[in-house]
């Protein structure tokens, strides 16, 4: 793996993904082995949108590598309120930090920001665009639970605005997967994403549905996302579809016993709490995997040796 920035999962090959996942597994097994690997390194956190899991897991990851973080803080308390552009902000923080993590409400923000900085930049969500580090922890969780080849995955919910969905779908085309996308018509995958998936996987592994029942029994993994009330122009339209995309124990009676249920969190009511204690639930494990994945990712991006231990310094 040799990338200056991580902007989209489209830039990751199967080998890249496996490198990160394998290394994350090593770190997971023995975090102390890398505890001082990046002592003195500073990671800049630029979150222009609220974030809990992503931000805290990057912060934890950097600290567990022996480094530290500088945090822009909330948008309200930053120079953004003075009208500073994103391009200026990243150029300033680049002078304070050895790498940057950016979340921003505009699509393409990470691509643009990366054109203004020389330090590695990780896209932690650009509007409805991409969220590649989430994808890596999703893939790690899928691999742990169901494997990544000969996999049938259902991805359900808000597929239109769900950046985690877009990133995951692209990355899965590197593997032998069948992807079923389940959503209300108004929240289907953006046509751009469908176009790319067909380009990457000639469309044979891609299917779109409006009802989970059509595919549930065949699934190894069900990846659920939140249908966001605020995306609907009126409450009635939301109420019509929301209930159709919630799962509970009764829903899963039709599923395989081995079905893994995932969710990028936060959830509201799309997964009933009664599923939490079943063997299906993998969403908290998924969230926890954010730390070893981001430790592995940061180490790769910050290491000059272009590999995890390429210069034999371990």
């Amino acid at each position: 793996m040799r990338h200056d920035h991580l902007i989209t999962s489209k830039q990751l090959s199967r080998a890249d993904i496996e490198t990160v996942l394998d290394y994350a597994a090593e770190i997971d097994a023995d975090p102390s082995a890398v505890a001082d690997r990046h002592a003195g390194t500073v990671l800049g956190l630029l979150f222009f949108e609220p974030s809990t899991r992503t931000k805290m897991s990057f912060e934890t990851a950097m600290k567990r590598l022996g480094g530290d973080i500088v945090d822009m803080g909330s948008v309200e308390s930053s120079s953004v309120t003075k009208g500073e552009t994103l391009a200026d902000t990243v150029r300033v923080i680049e002078g304070y930090a050895d790498a940057l993590v950016l979340r921003h409400p505009k699509q393409g923000s990470a691509t643009m920001a990366s054109e203004f900085v020389d330090v590695p930049l990780v896209n932690a969500g650009d509007g409805a665009g991409h969220h590649p580090s989430q994808t890596l922890l999703d893939l790690y969780t899928i691999r742990e639970n169901a494997g990544l080849d000969d996999l049938t995955i259902g991805i359900m919910g808000d597929l239109k605005y769900g950046r985690t969905v877009h990133s995951l779908a692209y990355a899965l085309t590197n593997f032998d997967t069948r992807q079923h996308f389940i959503s209300p018509e108004s929240l289907q995958l953006p046509r751009e994403v469908v176009y790319d998936l067909h380009q990457q996987q000639d469309g044979t592994g891609i299917r779109e549905h409006d009802a989970l029942e059509e595919v549930l029994p065949s699934l190894d993994v069900l990846y659920v996302t939140r249908i966001q009330r605020e995306r609907f122009p009126d409450e009635n339209e939301y109420q019509k579809v929301a209930g159709e995309y919630q799962i509970d124990a009764e829903t899963l009676e039709a599923a395989s016993d081995d079905l893994t249920v995932m969710h990028p969190l936060p959830r509201v009511d799309e997964i009933a709490p009664e599923i939490d204690e079943t063997d299906h639930a993998a969403y908290f494990e998924q969230a926890h995997n954010g730390v070893p994945i981001r430790m592995a990712l940061l180490d790769l991006l910050l290491s000059d040796d272009a590999g995890i231990r390429g210069d034999g310094d371990e």
Binding site: K106, G108, E192, Y195
Partner: protein
């Protein structure tokens, strides 16, 4: 070839409806109905006294109906031809000097166009106040924003940043 007239389609009677030019550019084989968009790309709205002749929806063997734009006193730059290719992929560019066609070539679609189209996605970073130049990759059947990845297939002319 001795003047700015089109001989490919054998429609000289129709061609003669549009006057000959002495020096300038004849843009031929523009898809019917796109002539005004061609003028928009060239930034020509008549207010600067440009001498322009336009033929719209004239019969054509190749396109069934085509538009022709003749601009006196102006030779198109490569950048202009690149953008023109997005809405007139079959266009022929004839450079005329002293009533003779001295160059004639088909447009070629570029891989990328910069600074000429505005992204229609209001959520795209290029629509804000950032110091960023718009950039679109050219697809077989449209264009794609290099930042937000939005694909536009129809109404490309409406994105022209004039």
């Amino acid at each position: 070839m001795s003047n700015g007239h089109d001989h490919h389609d054998g429609n000289d009677d129709h061609e003669l409806r549009v006057s000959k030019i002495r020096d300038g550019t004849v843009i031929d084989h523009v898809h019917g109905g796109q002539a005004l968009n061609v003028l928009a790309i060239l930034g020509i709205d008549g207010t600067n006294g440009e001498e322009v002749s336009v033929g719209m929806n004239v019969p054509s063997d190749r396109l069934a109906r085509k538009d022709i734009v003749k601009v006196e006193g102006r030779e198109l730059s490569q950048d202009e031809v690149d953008v023109l290719s997005l809405i007139a992929p079959d266009a022929t560019i004839n450079i005329v000097r002293d009533f003779d066609v001295v160059e004639k070539h088909r447009v070629e679609r570029p891989d990328v166009v910069e600074s000429v189209l505005s992204c229609p996605n209001p959520g795209c970073i290029t629509t804000g106040d950032e110091p960023v130049t718009s950039r679109f990759s050219v697809l077989e059947d449209g264009v794609r924003c290099s930042y937000c990845e939005t694909i536009v297939r129809d109404e490309i002319a409406s994105l022209i940043d004039t």
